[in-house]
Symmetry: C2
Subunit: 355 residues, 2 copies
């Protein structure tokens, strides 16, 4: 039976990417050696890293002044890394608190400076993107989480803040087009639309870096990594390679604009059913809904056992909601085919028809 | 033709490990899903992480009070992480400078406290493990690099320092037995004897942690990761899984003591030839020689082209020395069969016989 993988991350990747990745673990580029047993300084792997960086720049249409790195530590280390590279000693910055990961980013940044939370939806269990005050004068940047995986909310576009932006785009990078010009740093863990767990992408403007007055630990200094072409130390070879394969797949399938169209169609399908079917209700406010993660619940909890049986028997996997929200969460990243969303919608209709 | 992979790291892994790893990228545990597209919170992956941690503890015979984590950032982030977890604000520590990686560890630790270099072999291009002074009174720990991959030197045993030890064991962990009791923290990038690039193992005594008076960034706080069973954030799924497969292979092949026997036999073979053959000389002093990386050069450089042709045509790969040392480097990690060392020795003899 075909499995419909709605996992929130690590998540579905294109079948062709998985096949190529498995083949490279056996034999890479016909070298007679595995991808994971060759030197990262070999020309074969250097070419992987260079293509992954260049393709990121191309697919995201990044300005020439931007650099791209593939590092380790996930967005969880990125919370601290992004702040320590930009926040001057004794400086201040503005943060939007739109979910669990935003709150974690705020916690790490507070170790480094004066952090102003300019908007929060915590009191309503993060069911919306909050209205925000303007960043106070003197803020070095505004930080926000573009998509909130757990709560199923997403910024509908780029905030207009009047200060440079820093964004954690872990769960919607490469899912829609955007203009990177207003950003100083964009960071994103790979394990949603980009690749497997184990690497985090940083895209950043080189110019504003190195001006904090701090001496940074080398691994946290984006300028150090940039000066070494993302090879300051041994990179996470396999995650970077699978990321490259996924980026090639995005390009071959029409680029980010085409991904966006497909993602909008999938989101339209599931949200229409949530709104139409009296047995379901959404968690996120309509105008904050995410195209990546749709959060919803039954209006009558007594039907849970039956609904779970229906979607399980349809081959649907990873639909259980995060414990902070409950209910269900359909994660619909780039690689999820619309047929999987159709299957889910069929089970929702089947539940309704049973009466 | 069989390839003899002498790469210094990432390096050779057991063929059975590579086969199992490739299979899991296609379908993991018969789930119908790839290892890299399932949730890290799924019971299938939680079991991987738990077994990898438990097997590390068993194979290294770690004391009960020790904890084991598989994190990201490599030893390069470990230089800073190990120091920030143990060095009190305004504190001091002793470091041995035995090579490039030691020097990098010292640089990062100096950001955090008063660092005493108690011994250095820098002036002789790190051709030996230096004689060391006792750590000054008040030193929180002595840090050293157990094996110096680039220069081919290795501590012959555990230093007697009179203070707790911290060691970067990236390039000889799981290659020989040792008593972990004198250590506060052991850390090791996976990409030598343990697995692929992309994860770093920390083994540490829980008791001395959390006493620095600092508030640590969460990702750098080993106690935070320990409290979450090494799943504070999304772990590097594939590198951890391949590490587990390699640990299982070590256990199935007699454990660390058996690895040590094999490694000693391989080292004996290559060093005997270096000492016997008038065309070659070693870089490292005899009593500092590494069982992992043998560094050597031709006594007559004019024979380089011919020697390179000989070993290349024998299927030998990764033998070129690091630019800091020149010449050749034979890295002989656990998974390298003695037949590969025999092949190398044959090419050295063939060169001699050509006269």
């Amino acid at each position: 039976m075909k499995i419909h993988n709605f996992s929130a991350g690590p998540c579905i990747l294109p079948p062709s990417v998985l096949e190529e990745a498995a083949a490279a673990v056996n034999d890479f580029n016909g070298l007679g050696l595995s991808l994971i047993e060759i030197s990262h300084r070999s020309k074969d792997f250097v070419a992987v890293m260079e293509e992954a960086r260049a393709l990121t720049k191309e697919l995201l249409n990044l300005p020439e002044r931007f650099d791209v790195l593939f590092l380790q530590g996930g967005a969880s280390l990125g919370f601290y890394t992004s702040a320590i590279n930009l926040l001057p000693d004794g400086g201040q910055a503005a943060y939007v608190d739109s979910g669990t990961w935003s709150a974690k980013a705020i916690k790490e940044a507070k170790l480094l400076g004066d952090i102003h939370v300019v908007g929060s939806s915590k009191d309503s269990n993060y069911d919306r993107i909050p209205a925000c005050d303007a960043p106070p004068a003197g803020s070095s940047f505004l930080h926000y989480t573009s998509n909130n995986t757990i709560f199923g909310t997403q910024f509908s576009g780029t905030p207009e803040a009047g200060v440079p932006l820093v964004a954690d785009m872990s769960s919607d990078i490469f899912s829609r087009t955007f203009d990177a010009n207003p950003y100083h740093i964009i960071y994103a863990g790979a394990q949603k639309n980009m690749g497997p767990a184990g690497t985090v992408m940083y895209a950043f403007d080189r110019e504003p870096l190195g001006k904090t007055g701090r001496t940074l630990p080398s691994y946290l200094d984006l300028s150090v990594h940039a000066s070494k072409d993302s090879m300051f130390n041994t990179p996470p070879v396999f995650p970077v390679y699978v990321t490259l394969l996924t980026l090639r797949w995005i390009k071959a399938n029409g680029g980010v604009a085409a991904m966006q169209q497909r993602n909008e169609a999938k989101a339209q399908l599931i949200y229409s059913e949530i709104d139409r079917n009296p047995l379901f209700e959404g968690h996120a406010h309509v105008n904050s809904r995410s195209n990546m993660n749709a959060t919803f619940r039954l209006t009558d909890d007594s039907k849970a056992e039956r609904f779970d049986a229906l979607w399980n028997s349809a081959g649907i996997s990873g639909l259980k909601g995060h414990r902070s929200v409950g209910g269900y969460r359909a994660s619909m990243y780039n690689a999820l085919p619309i047929e999987s969303v159709e299957t889910l919608v069929e089970t929702m209709r089947a539940l309704e028809q049973e009466g």
